[in-house]
Symmetry: C2
Subunit: 387 residues, 2 copies
């Protein structure tokens, strides 16, 4: 390794350290940053100056001519330059949302449409149009969008949607089909929504996020990190076995959770043509609808019992359509968890409905890009210097 | 923080860095260590010298007077001074095993006894006698035993065995009851056996280790690290639900895996009074015994399907009594996994019988102490200097 390369690496690492410290603990003065990071004050001053120039950090308080960099001024993440785009293809809508570095939503768009059994090219084309609009708006706001992440329900990997039961898609190269002027990555909706809850939700660092849709996914967050498994396919809660000889599941098995608590099973049992219809029936106390939710809740309780026994969870967040169905689902779920887990664990895990609801996935998607910028800010400094 | 404290911390960290580099990649020369660690050659020389003096590192090749520390000599972990004690209370035996820093077994003892429904004080008294013998032998070999870890089947925490179904124990303060001249920590047998497989087994870094006993536990190893969950109770595979309305389980639930594939269920279904009797019946092709294994295997396949869907496992190691029963269990397990996981994952995870068998838990227990020494060697240097 040459001296110059080593110096570049050291500088990249120190930039990350300073930016990370401000991100976690800001606002901070340069002196406080030196103490927190163990770097010298002059190194910190240089790094902070470069990060301010690149638009990643900003100084707080009124700016006065000639006073930039004076010791008492605090720095925070800047919301004025770098941003990220979160995208989602949901069964009922397409969504795009731009977050700046501080996590504030700067612009967003959403288009209601029924994506069931849709053609991938058509849907991705519409999403591309929506994303392009939002990117133009971000540009007008002076934001530089560093990248995009797209959330799709179901197992994904290497830019390919292996199976999206909501949409009826199989093996769709979604990341390639979406042409945008920024790099696009693809991830599972439940994983991204779990990250959304982690970064922009209640501040919990350990939980299982459950996403109820046509399929049922889950994102496991352990000590502030997403657990994604050997091949990125962890969290397939929908195929946890509830009854081995239960109804046939599209996965080839029988009696998977999805056959009891997936949206299609729920609507069929609740004798409702759509989720709004089911919610309306529940609202007026319809017996069939309530029984459908209760039995879906008991099945979810069984699958979550297995999950808690394996993963030792102490918090479960119900998202997707389960957020709206929470008042009718949570009782039966809790009952099963209490009966089955009380003996070994004393108390069942805490459970709540997602506070972010349908926004969790796009927030997590944009957040993933933002966290990547924070973890490796050096390229943005180079760009700022070249500009 | 004073300058002196900061210096001590830096030194402790550098000792760990050097020892860790040798542990992972040794033998290494001092020059190679400097390159790997990024420390200066003179710092490395000083640290290596201290670690050699403390008996944690040794130089390879013939020692020649006056030549210690010459540049070409390589250093390795030393097996001559620091060691660790692994203990296990199994349903059929007590075991103690001393490993040196290189992972070599230096002395061991095992006492066959039936620990079913045993009095904790009596069993721990016998284990104490066995451990004392082995510690005396280690002392004769010139080894300094840094600590002990005790493996017990079932959920444990803070030195307490919450429930040991093998033994019929409830809330036993095992770590306190065992009086030894070294610190004793307590952990779950499946977790420690999983670590034994990780450190002294096939070299895999991602797998689920399943321990079949009266209860059925599991240890999940992810990227070389044990996943232990929010409260250290992860891996309760025995209470993953196989059939919601199945036989009553001692946990208060119904149809848990344990009620189908736990040792008692297996022996009852196989019409055998003991595991050796079951193995003998299997060996002579007894139909009832084989059917018992096949249906336990199918139940295990169901529970593992749920585990794979949640955790995205690509390797499963069957340990405990499942190691001996592997020839009769593995077919039915594989069949279920292939049917239920083929659709989503293409192929089921690889499966094998534990190669370490009954030794995995004591190896993992001693290994845990050894890894703690390697992660924080500074106290051993202080002791060596005071001696």
């Amino acid at each position: 390794m040459t001296q110059a390369v080593r110096h570049e690496e050291m500088r990249a690492r120190n930039l990350e350290v300073v930016l990370g410290a401000v991100s976690r603990g800001g606002p901070l003065t340069r002196a406080a940053l030196a103490e927190v990071t163990g770097l010298t004050k002059s190194t910190v001053s240089k790094l902070v100056g470069d990060l301010v120039d690149a638009g990643l950090l900003a100084e707080t308080g009124p700016a006065r001519a000639g006073e930039r960099g004076r010791p008492g001024v605090e720095v925070v993440l800047s919301g004025e330059r770098v941003a990220a785009l979160g995208l989602e293809i949901n069964v009922d809508y397409l969504a795009a949302r731009v977050l700046d570095l501080t996590g504030a939503v700067r612009c967003a768009a959403r288009r209601e449409r029924d994506n069931r059994g849709s053609r991938p090219k058509k849907v991705l084309g519409e999403l591309q149009a929506l994303a392009t609009e939002v990117l133009a708006e971000a540009h007008r706001l002076g934001l530089e969008v560093a990248g995009a992440a797209l959330a799709v329900s179901g197992p994904v990997g290497d830019g390919v949607v292996f199976s999206a039961p909501n949409l009826g898609w199989q093996d769709v190269r979604a990341a390639d089909l979406l042409r945008l002027p920024v790099p696009v990555e693809l991830d599972n909706e439940a994983n991204l929504a779990a990250l959304g809850e982690l970064w922009y939700g209640d501040g919990e660092r350990d939980f299982l996020y459950v996403s109820g849709e046509v399929g049922i996914g889950a994102g496991l967050v352990v000590n502030g990190t997403l657990y994604s498994g050997a091949t990125g396919l962890a969290g397939e809660l929908g195929h946890v076995v509830v009854t081995p000889d239960g109804p046939a599941c599209r996965c080839g098995g029988n009696g998977c959770l999805e056959t009891y608590a997936g949206q299609e099973a729920l609507l069929a049992a609740g004798n409702s043509p759509s989720l709004p219809a089911l919610l309306a029936a529940l609202g007026r106390g319809d017996r069939v609808a309530r029984d459908a939710c209760a039995s879906a809740g008991r099945a979810l309780g069984i699958a979550l019992t297995s999950a808690v026994n394996l993963l030792d969870l102490d918090r479960i967040v119900l998202g997707g359509v389960f957020t709206q169905l929470y008042p009718w689902l949570s009782g039966p779920v809790s009952e099963v968890l209490t009966t089955r887990l009380g003996g070994l664990r004393g108390a069942p895990p805490a459970m709540s409905a997602s506070r972010l609801g349908g926004d969790a996935a796009t927030l997590g998607a944009a957040g993933r890009v933002i966290h990547r910028v924070l973890a490796d800010p050096a390229p943005f400094l180079t760009r700022a210097q070249e500009a």
